[in-house]
Every structure is written in structure tokens, then in C-alpha cells.
Symmetry: C2
Subunit: 326 residues, 2 copies
Amino acid sequence: MVSKLSVKRGIQKRLNVFEEELEALVQEAISSKGAPAMDLARDVLLAGGKRLRPLLAILTYEATGGRDIHEVMDLALSSELIHTATLIHDDIYDQARFRRGRPTIHSSHGLAHAIIAGDYLFALGFSKGGRYDLDVVDMIASSCTNIARGELQQFNHIGDLTTTPEDYYSIIDGKTVGPFATGTASAALVAGASKEVSEMMYDFGTEFGRAFQLVDDLLDLTGDPEMGKPRGTDVHEGKMTLPLIHALTILHGSEREHLADVLNNFSDDRWNELTSLLELSGSFSYTRQLIQNHVDRALEILSKLPPSNAKDLISEVALISRNRRV
Amino acid sequence: MVSKLSVKRGIQKRLNVFEEELEALVQEAISSKGAPAMDLARDVLLAGGKRLRPLLAILTYEATGGRDIHEVMDLALSSELIHTATLIHDDIYDQARFRRGRPTIHSSHGLAHAIIAGDYLFALGFSKGGRYDLDVVDMIASSCTNIARGELQQFNHIGDLTTTPEDYYSIIDGKTVGPFATGTASAALVAGASKEVSEMMYDFGTEFGRAFQLVDDLLDLTGDPEMGKPRGTDVHEGKMTLPLIHALTILHGSEREHLADVLNNFSDDRWNELTSLLELSGSFSYTRQLIQNHVDRALEILSKLPPSNAKDLISEVALISRNRRV
């Protein structure tokens, strides 16, 4: 086992390298022809997300045989740039006013600027990803086209109380899980690992990403606004998260009708009703159990890698991510 | 000299190969995980643009030593996919209702679907471009980040009657000219040509692209709706095209005040006023002369290539493009 302090230090060390690279990239863009678009994107890019995608890419690279983390840095940058591009575009049609504590670009600068800033980060992200071999480029591209698929599928299921767990997994595998899985799988390839190890790390990223999304689902229902995680965004938008899908399957008769009414006509004064129904159906504990299962499987896959400090840190990231409050 | 018929056949032959590849790509996407996004994008992609970017990429590849046009096909596809992605996103904030004779995606399916469909084509375009060497990937990426720069700069000059010719060229070099120039320069690299020849073809693409944009500017002022080119879009949007910038520079006193008033308070019943003022300032003939200069320089650059059928066809494309009505 590694001590909490050494975990924190180990993670911080990688994140510092990443932030330096990201800031250098931003500075380079600002002082070059990309200036106006980067001026727009800089705030959201540097406002400090969790950096989970780049962190996992860096640690996976190290845990699968990589020797010089600068080799994987363009991949790490690519994952964060593309992730931020999708956030900027998502925020437009989700009509979100704030992101990472700052006004969203479309609310401060308007629709056109937000679309263009997102496109700009996409291009920058692809240019970083495009520096690697064809198998990595293909993975990044396929992850991006799958994001589009997942998002469109999610739209089709807005407010659809008949959404199945299969629909749910198909949506999140596109939107959220794919980028994690292709990130870890690509990082292994960049490290020179075999196709088998890369596929193993794809499966790891899949389990990690599903746990991550399910934690997000729970936080949307239980999150503490004072911790910086406003609750209810998904419910208000009619997004069918797994706890809701589970409760709709478990409850019958008047209880299901009650839940359907709460979801179809949701407002903030119905939180108690919704929470009671989700507790009645055991949906919170069911979702927690699913998260545990995904994390367990992620750790099991990870255990097949040879011992290394980076491998221990990935385990810790998975455990920290499971227990996150924001 | 080549006969008109053989020019037409030569161009059509390349376009047919391209359309087949594009349709195969669309079919593959439809029958795979990209289905919902491609379902949205298919219409605008296959509705038949001029295909000038892919055509020039293919012909440049051949004229600079390429032997098998399938080698350059991913580049040709990439250029058209990315171009169409920018059209879909542009149409959102230009509030255009029709594109290539069909309803725009945002007007038929809404904002979110149009943003996602554009992002999807970007990803697909980059994946095709990402199959080439780093120098080509860098050119494509830099052309895309420059599009963003040009678009943002254009926004800053909307309705700005003090816009200079330098501003104008900086805007169009980002938005329109760059993709042409990087397309022809990249095609030369894919053909295995030297860096010098690639730079030469970059200059060719720059001259071609500027002529292309100036023709567009003229058509916006003189275009015939019955030919499928509605006029006045730029004027209504307050876009400062070169004929307008020229007239604002040439006219003085009450005539300039009159022009400023027409541009600041434009409506369709002021066409005659606008046309008279542009004729008075000689802005139509000035723009036509500029177009001729750019085409002449493009042809002069081209003349340095060794003789080939493809080279002759590129000249013809430049001449046809100069005289186009739509």
C-alpha cells in the first residue's frame, strides 16, 4: 500500500507537468494566429477541471511501460482539449450559464463565439492527437464520432420513461465512457505496449468511465450545492439517469404513477417526493452497488499489470473518483 | 490547349471517383455507430456542393507527381468533410434557412442537432486527414484554427465601415483561402513532391482562394437568384466585402455619407442606390481587376509545373471558377 501523502504527491506531480504543458500551449496560441479563439477558450480551459482524462492517460502510459511522460503529453492535451470543446458546445444547448465557476462562453459572448471556440479546441485537440500513429488517431476519431452518437441518442430519450438500462449504457458509452477508454487504450499504445495490453486498458477505461458516470448520476440527485455540485440538472432536463431508470422498473401501480408524475412535472419543491420514491425502490443503493462493481472490475483488470508506482496511483484515482463529492 | 469536352470529361472523371468515395463513407457511417449523426449530415454532404476543394486536391496530387489518386482521396474527403462541418456551424449563427437547396440542419432539427452534426463531420474529417504524415496533419489543423480566427475577426468587423483591405484579406485568408492553400500544398506533399513544390502550390491555392472569395463578394452584389445565388446576404449581415471597402475608400463627402447610410440602414429597396454608388466608385471593375490579377498569378505559378493533363485541368478550373455565376 502507498501512503495517502505519497499518493497525493504522485498525482500532483503528474498534474503539474500537465498544467505546465497546457499553459504553454495556451500561451503559444495567444501569441500566435489563434489568439482571438484562445482568448475565448482560455478561461474555461484553465479554470481547472478534474483533469481525469489526461491524468489517466499519463499514469497508464507509465504503468504500461512508458519511460518519458513527455511522449504521452500530446495525447493528454488532446483528451482535455477535446473534452473542453464538447463542454463548450454542450453548454450551448443545455443552456448552462456557468461552467467551472465562470460564465459559459455563449452566455458571455453569444452563440457564434461559443460554437467557434469549441470548433477551435476540437481542431487543436485533433492536431495534438494527430501526432501519433494511425491506430491512435483512429481511436480518437472514433471516440469523437461516438460522442455525437451518444448525444443524439440521449436527445431521443429526453423525458422518455421507457428508456432501458441498455439505452442508458449505449448513451453513456458514447458520451462519457468512450473518451476514458480510448484515452487509456491509446496511452498504452504510445507506451509501446502490446495490442492485448491496450485492449485491457480499454476495458479498464470502460469500467472506470461507467463508474464515473454513475457517480455523476448519483450526485445529480444527492449533490450538495455548497460543495459546488448543484443537484437536479439532469432531472430538470429530463435526462434519464440510471437511478431513475431503475426506480421506474422496480416500482409498480400507484407508486410508479407517482414517480412518473414527479418526473414529468418536476420542480424543486418535489425533491422530497422524488428522494422518497428512489429510496423506496432501493435505487440509490442499487446504483452504489453498480458503481462498486465497476470499480472492482477496473481494479481487477489493473491487477494484471506488473507492479509499479503508476499502477498504484491509478487504483487510488479509481477509488478517489468513486467517493468524489463534486 | 485542351478542348472544352475533354476538360469537362477530365474533371468529371475525378469528381466521379470522389463522389463514389464520399458515398461509400456515408454508407459505412450509416450502417455503423455513426448512424444518427450521419443521418443528419448526409443531406447537406451529398446535396452537391461544387467540390472545388477535393477536386483541386486530386488534380494537384496528379500534377505534382502522384500516381494513384486513391492515395490522395482521404485528403480530398477530409477537405470536404471539414468544409461541410463549417457550413453547418456557420449556418447556425448566420441564421441561414437553406443550404444547397435544402433546409439547414438547425432549421429542420434544431440547434443541438446542428452543433453535433457539425462536430461529427469535423471528427470524421480529422480522422481522414490524420492518416497522413505530421506535416499534412499540422497543415490541416492550422487551417482549421485559422478558420476560427478569421470568423472571429469577421464578427469584430460586422458593420464596421472603417474595415481596411488588410483586415479584409486577413479575414478571408483565415476563413476561405487557407483551406484551399493547405489543400493544394498538402496534396503536393502526399504526391511526394518537394517542400518547394508544396510551398509553390500553397501560393497557388492562396491566389485561387482569394479570387474565389472576391467572385463570391461580387456575386453577393450582382448574383441572380434564379441562378441559385441569392444576392445581398453579406450586405444584410453587415459583412464588409472588398467592393464595399473599396467604395468607402474612394467616395468622399456627400457620396460617402450616402453609401454609409445605405450600408447602415440597408433594405432590399435600396439596391439601386447601392449599385449606383458602387459603379460611381468603380468598385465592380476594381474587384474584377483584382480577381483577374489573382487568377493570373495563380496561372503563372502553375506554369512552373511540368506539363501534364492534370495541370491543364487546374488552369481550366481556375478560369471556370473566375467566371462562375453561382
